[in-house]
Symmetry: C2
Amino acid sequence: MTETILKMQKKVKRYLDKDRYDHTIGVMHTAGCLAMRYGANLEQALTAGLLHDCAKCVPADEKIKLCEKNHIEISDAENKNPGLLHAKLGAFFAWKKYGIENEEILRSIESHTTGRPNMSLLDKIIYIADYIEPGRDVAPNLPEVRALAFVDIDACLYRILEDTLAYLAEKGATLDPATEETFLYYKNLKNSDSEKEDKN
Amino acid sequence: MTETILKMQKKVKRYLDKDRYDHTIGVMHTAGCLAMRYGANLEQALTAGLLHDCAKCVPADEKIKLCEKNHIEISDAENKNPGLLHAKLGAFFAWKKYGIENEEILRSIESHTTGRPNMSLLDKIIYIADYIEPGRDVAPNLPEVRALAFVDIDACLYRILEDTLAYLAEKGATLDPATEETFLYYKNLKNSDSEKEDKN
């Protein structure tokens, strides 16, 4: 762990409540382990994991205000549920308050809640680490999803998207179009891969 | 993460210096990720990772005294290098001070520095997590060893034993017989596996 990360860790701790901080450290290390497994840059994965929720504990109205002030676009879904803005605002804070200039890290923070089509390896790592870190315990099928994360990252990503959509449908929650767009992108990709396999 | 682990985490923090605590949290989560990958008990892996170095910051003469007082056998190698005793003493503390009664956890703490012949899955997880956690940076070939940990745990264990022996030989350090015994056990195992494969 570099001095830079340890310094950022101290700062992040000041802005998060105890539970969120414990979760954050879990995501940071799980992202680190996924990076080890798939040959991603360890330092970048730890940094993105550490900062992914750095805007989470900002009150909802403050989130809206900060986005407006800093010209961060707010979608209809985010207007209805400002909590979602912590991802975009987190990427902004990572740049502005923590001096992160690496675009890959910033994008992985921005997309960690909804995912996005055509995710990079780092995006997938942060999205999955957020879902499986050891402090999580409510998602269905966690043991299978956790093992899959270290065996086949793409299958794991798809599995989480499927489970998340089923969970939101069951709860009757409004679906963020970004989550749906991500799911449809990976569903199409999976179908076209299956077709290719059938033809071979 | 259960409340029990979070409570133990607070206690461990009081007995370790800052660097050792950061390392400990790294080992705890890396052990957790290895447990996810190989279907070991997540809670046990996190607990063993958290407690593996709980006796590390006890001064050397105090280590000797505590072992003598509690009838913990001290080998010649440990008498020469009392630092090694943190593993046996750690298992004792885990039981006495942290209320851990699970034999598997205690054994994995006891054997985390030298390894031992015929290690359990949990022993391997703690031994490897200690070597690869994100804060480590001096061992040779870390990127390969880290990836291997999540792909083939036995090959990774053997690789670490080989690298450790080579490192100790290069440094001219005295070899703890327990480390050598572990290495020879796994070397024989590997050779007999190769022979079986050759015969097939």
